[in-house]
């Protein structure tokens, strides 16, 4: 799949391994909706007027418009910036094929969780800002004519953190894939479990894996694409146990956040640590696929499973 060596190598420069560690636990600052997901940039780095920004990988100053036109891939170093969920859908699916499901389900502040502000207010503000009810978007769509169930974990909504609703929607999406015998494709960008929902968030790791287990039982097919960044309880659950695990070049992927590790060990982390290339080298993912090749890659993979999956579906349903 490494068709484009320039992009796949995604050369990383200094400061990279420490980059954005603070987002590990998914607590983005709230900002105005629109344009680029500004979560990736600290205020300092954000150029006046927002027309320009500094690449977090190569530090090159980029014209924002140009970055967006290039699918949010740095024109200078090929770094794959985080993509807002809606934009991702447009990048992956055939035009006009997206039919979103379960969009109405909203988060609940069941613990009455309050840090600086009540969680319920935080949700309300995020819903207003993003125009979506939760961090997971899921629905039906087609990739080069091939029907799939697609799920996108959107970093722009509370750092793509997984709480009850994200876990539930993932499980529901997988159940739609089972019911309608479609492959399941999920893109992740997430800081991990959502702290504000406490242990209920932790249980979503088990819930999503339970759903995938059922998909496996009926011979269903699943692909996960880990994008920048994917850490914590998301990496440590459904994202790592789909049939195929892909990653975008340069994506930060790990269990513990780099800052946590650096603090614990009190030492510098090796260059490229926890990047997609590092994981590929250690045998943890199937392949790295550049963004502009993603659609056709997914379609190519689906070619290998057309008709094959779900052969045993009827038998499995009898067991249910």
């Amino acid at each position: 799949m490494a068709d484009d060596p320039k992009q796949n190598d995604a050369p990383k420069k200094k400061g990279d391994s420490k980059a954005k560690a603070e987002q590990d636990q998914a607590e983005p600052t709230e900002k105005k909706q629109g344009r680029l997901s500004r979560l990736r940039f600290s205020k300092k780095k954000d150029m006046p007027g927002g027309l320009w920004l500094k690449c977090e990988s190569c530090s090159e100053v980029i014209f924002r418009k140009e970055l967006e036109e290039k699918g949010r891939v740095c024109p200078s170093c090929g770094f794959h910036f985080t993509v807002p969920g809606r934009e991702r859908i447009a990048m992956v699916l055939d035009e006009g094929t997206w039919r979103e499901q379960f969009a109405e389900i909203e988060a609940l502040d069941r613990l009455n969780f309050i840090d600086s502000t009540p969680y319920s207010e935080k949700i309300a503000r995020t819903v207003k800002r993003t125009g979506q009810n939760e961090a997971l978007l899921c629905g039906f769509g087609e990739v080069l004519g091939k029907p799939i169930v697609l799920a996108i974990l959107d970093f722009g909504f509370m750092g793509g953190s997984m709480g009850e609703v994200v876990g539930e929607k993932l499980a529901l999406a997988i159940e739609l894939a089972i019911r309608d015998r479609r492959p399941f494709v999920v893109f992740t960008s997430s800081g991990g479990a959502r702290m504000h929902e406490g242990v209920l968030s932790l249980m979503q790791m088990a819930k999503t894996c339970a759903a995938l287990k059922k998909l496996n039982d009926v011979g269903g097919f699943s692909i996960c694409v880990m994008t920048h960044p994917t850490t914590g309880g998301v990496t440590a659950s459904f994202a790592s146990v789909t049939d195929i695990v892909l990653a975008e070049p340069g994506a930060l992927i790990g269990f513990a956040g780099p800052r946590v590790i650096a603090t614990t060990l009190k030492q510098e982390l090796p260059a490229g640590f926890q990047r997609a290339e590092f994981l590929l080298d250690r045998g943890m993912i199937d392949n790295i696929v550049a963004r502009d090749k993603m659609r056709e890659t997914i379609a190519r993979l689906l070619d290998y499973v057309d008709e094959a999956p779900y052969e045993s579906a009827a038998a499995a349903v009898r067991h249910a």
């Binding site: 609940l108 319920s120 406490g198 242990v199 932790l202 440590a236 513990a256 499995a316």
Partner: protein
């Protein structure tokens, strides 16, 4: 285990609430030794002090904050996996290694026999002495630990042995080697695989239930918690550092996270709380451990009666619906054309009084909306 001679100066600021109790205990010890050496009859004074001790412990432990409970769960006299093996198990044969990379001392696995019941014991190992604690990274397992656990659990499945998991970890180890060897992947594989194991699984949080590191051996047909254990998505310290930007706010984070056994039972995440003796398991370890044994054997005896297929189906349903409020989410039946949508307004109101207002519609793949009892879907 029962060495309580020098319990003073535990050093943990989170255990300040224990000080008045320890003072009375020290006074009692002093009077007892005095009565031995002088043959003075001060039994009534001792009795009075003992009554005061019970009262103080009772009052203190009935009012423990979440943060104080976390510190009880971490108490260095609290029973750890090795103590349970020594105290409760009639035979234990340890099985080492993941046969791929190494033998993680933070994860202990082996065949165990308890009152005639044979099972596989999988347990985080914390150790008690400084040397032991260092050897097993304070109970933080590496990927090879999780892979060892999975390998032995698959063996148990083959042999038809139930699995008992004792959880006691601050979290999976955060380190370079752990990441290199796929910490996240190892935990994820375990969670997924535990849904397929065709033997009963009982998981018990005996101390710290730290996040994914706990869940990596924590999927069970029954999940129990010792009364003063905690189980959380993140450590209070980690949560305080991220959300409060201040590690000193750990007590607030502990409170907010709802991580005590009582909270988890109310949320529907655990099945049963195992009561600890007054003043916590560290005051009477043997009593605490034997209470766990009693509860554990009851669950094992119930579970071994269940057919593997039913066991697996039940485990799936348990986690598929875990902690969920009845009627809050729509459902997708696993066969074509069957969808359950909760009726309007069926979702339970949240504590703020605002209903989530769910009016879910589940579309079929052909784009037609389908409703419960409504038009049949394709193929039915």
């Amino acid at each position: 285990m029962n060495d309580r001679s020098k319990k003073k100066g535990d050093g943990s600021p989170g255990l300040a609430f224990e000080r008045p109790i320890e003072e009375i205990e020290a006074q009692i010890a002093e009077l007892e030794s005095l009565s031995l050496s002088t043959r003075l009859d001060i039994s009534s004074e001792i009795e009075a002090l003992k009554a005061r001790l019970r009262e103080t412990i009772d009052k203190t432990y009935s009012e423990l904050s979440a943060w104080e409970r976390v510190n009880v769960a971490r108490h260095n006299k609290r029973p750890v996996a090795n103590d349970y093996v020594t105290e409760l198990v009639d035979d234990f044969f340890e099985l080492h290694g993941d046969r791929t990379f190494g033998d993680d001392a933070a994860m202990m696995t082996g065949f165990a026999t308890m009152e005639g019941r044979r099972f596989l014991l999988v347990a985080h190992r914390k150790g008690r002495t400084t040397k032991e604690r260092l050897e097993c990274n304070f109970g933080c397992a590496h990927p090879e630990g999780y892979r060892k656990a999975l390998r032995k659990m698959r063996l148990a499945e083959k042999l038809g042995l139930p699995i008992v998991c004792m959880i006691n970890t601050p979290g999976a180890y955060p380190g370079i080697g752990a990441e290199e060897r796929g910490q996240a992947m190892a935990i994820a594989e375990n969670i997924l695989a535990m849904f397929s194991l065709r033997v009963p699984i009982v998981a018990i949080v005996i101390g710290e239930g730290g996040s994914g590191g706990a869940l990596g051996i924590g999927v069970g047909d029954r999940v129990l918690m010792m009364e003063h254990a905690y189980y959380s998505v993140i450590s209070p310290e980690g949560c305080a550092a991220i959300l409060w930007k201040d590690g000193e706010r750990s007590p607030d984070a502990a409170e907010a996270l709802k991580l005590t056994s009582k909270d988890l039972l109310e949320l529907g995440v655990i099945d049963e709380i195992v009561n600890e003796p007054l003043g916590g398991a560290h005051r009477a370890p043997s009593v605490a451990m034997n209470e766990l044994k009693r509860v554990l054997l009851r669950h094992l005896d119930e579970l071994i009666e269940i057919e593997p297929e039913a066991l697996i189906a039940g485990r799936h349903t348990k986690y598929r619906r875990i902690g969920a409020i009845e009627g809050r989410f729509p459902t997708v039946a696993p066969s074509l054309g069957e969808i359950d949508v909760p009726p309007r307004g069926a979702a339970a109101p949240d504590s703020n009084g605002s209903a989530p207002g769910l009016t879910s519609r589940v579309e079929g793949a052909d784009g037609r909306a389908q409703r419960r009892g409504g038009g049949a879907g394709p193929g039915s």
